[in-house]
Amino acid sequence: MHKKIMYILRKYLNSMGNSKLYKGSLNTIILKLLEEQGKMYGYEITQKVKELTKGELKITEGALYPALHKLEAEGLLDVEVAKVDNRIRKYYKLTKKGVKETGDRLSELEDFIRSMQQLVNPKWNIS
C-alpha cells in the first residue's frame, strides 16, 4: 500500500516540477535570507538564491518583486535607499513584525518538510 502512495506522491511532485514547489515557499525564502543578511536589494536576492541552491532554484524577476511588494504591504519589510553607481538602490530589511513572522513561517516549513519526508521515505522499523 505504502508503495502505491509513494508512487503517486512522487509522480505528483514530478509533474509539478520543483519550480511550483518552491513558488509556494518564495516568501519564506526571502524572509529567511533577509533575516540572515540584514538588508538586501532585489537583484542581490536573486543571485544569492541561485548561489545557495547551486543554480537549482532560480527566483524569476517576475515573481520576486511582486513578492517583495506584497511582504512590504503586509508590514513585514521595510525599505531603505542609497545612491550607488549613478543610480538609486532600494534595500529591503525585516521589520519587527517581519522577524516574528519569519520564525513562524520557518517552523511551519520545517513541519511541512518533516511530514513530506515521512510520506516519501517512511521508516518502517518500529524498534
Binding site: 524577476e61 517576475g62 515573481a63 518583486y65 511588494h69 506584497k70 512590504e72 553607481d85 549613478n86 538602490r89
Partner: protein, 230 residues
C-alpha cells in the same frame, strides 16, 4: 564595467516605454536591469548595451513588468487605505464625533419637517449637491497630478482617488432613488439610519478629497526614502 549616467537614463526611458508609469517603480527596475547588465559585462564586456538589456528584460517573462506593476499597485493601495482609515476614524472619536452627530441630526430633523412626498427627494438632492462640490475639488486635485514630471504611485493614489467618486456617486444615486427612499425614511429609525449613513459617507469623501491631498508631500516623504534624493 559600470553603466554611465546616460545609459541609466536610457533604462528609465525603457521602463516608461514598457508601461511603467511611476518613478518609484521605475527606479527599482532600473537598478535591477543595471545590475543584470553589469553582471553580463563582467563575463563578456563586448556585449552591446541594448542586447544585454533585452536579455535582462526577457527574464521578466512574457508579461514583462506587468506583474511587478500590478502587485506594487495593490501594495500601495493597501497603504493608501490605511492612511485614509487613520484619518477617517478620528471622526468617530471625541471631539470630532460631535460634528458627525450634529450633522446627522441636522439631516434627520430636516427630513422631519418635510412632507412625506418630499423626504426622498430632499435626501437625494442633498447628497447630489454635496457630492458635486466634492467632485469638483477632486478634479482640481487630479489636475495637480498632470503637472508633475515625476509621478509617484502614492501621489497618484492620493490625488486620483477622488475621481473614482464619480462612479461611486453614480451608483449611489441609483441606490438612493427618491422612490425607494420614500419607503425607508417613512420610519423614524429608517430616516435616522439613512441620515447617519449619508453623513458618514460624505465625511469619508471629504477626508479623501479635502483632508489628505494637501498633505501629499508629507506622505510621499514617509512612503519613499528616495523622494528627497530624486
Amino acid at each position: 564595467m559600470k553603466l554611465t549616467q546616460s545609459q541609466i537614463q536610457d533604462l528609465y526611458d525603457f521602463t516608461r516605454r514598457h508601461f511603467v508609469e511611476h518613478y518609484d517603480v521605475q527606479t527599482e527596475l532600473v537598478d535591477h536591469l543595471a545590475n543584470g547588465i553589469e553582471q553580463q559585462w563582467a563575463v563578456d564586456p563586448n556585449i552591446p548595451f541594448q542586447e544585454a538589456l533585452q536579455a535582462e528584460f526577457s527574464k521578466f517573462g512574457v508579461f514583462g513588468f506587468h506583474d511587478v506593476i500590478s502587485e506594487k499597485t495593490k501594495a500601495m493601495e493597501k497603504r493608501y487605505w490605511k492612511i485614509l482609515w487613520s484619518f477617517y476614524k478620528t471622526y468617530f472619536k471625541l471631539p470630532r464625533i460631535l460634528m458627525l452627530i450634529i450633522m446627522t441630526l441636522v439631516v434627520y430633523t430636516s427630513m422631519g419637517v418635510l412632507t412625506y412626498e418630499s423626504k426622498g427627494y430632499f435626501i437625494s438632492f442633498l447628497f447630489l449637491g454635496v457630492m458635486s462640490v466634492i467632485f469638483v475639488k477632486a478634479i482640481k486635485n487630479r489636475k495637480r497630478l498632470k503637472n508633475n514630471s515625476k509621478k509617484w504611485l502614492m501621489e497618484d493614489m492620493i490625488l486620483n482617488h477622488g475621481t473614482s467618486l464619480a462612479f461611486v456617486n453614480l451608483g449611489l444615486q441609483v441606490c438612493i432613488n427618491p422612490m425607494i427612499l420614500k419607503e425607508v425614511v417613512l420610519h423614524p429609525i429608517g430616516a435616522f439610519v439613512m441620515a447617519f449613513l449619508l453623513t458618514a459617507m460624505v465625511l469619508l469623501f471629504y477626508v479623501m478629497v479635502y483632508v489628505i491631498p494637501p498633505r501629499t508631500e508629507e506622505f510621499l516623504i514617509k512612503t519613499y526614502p528616495e523622494y528627497k534624493m530624486g
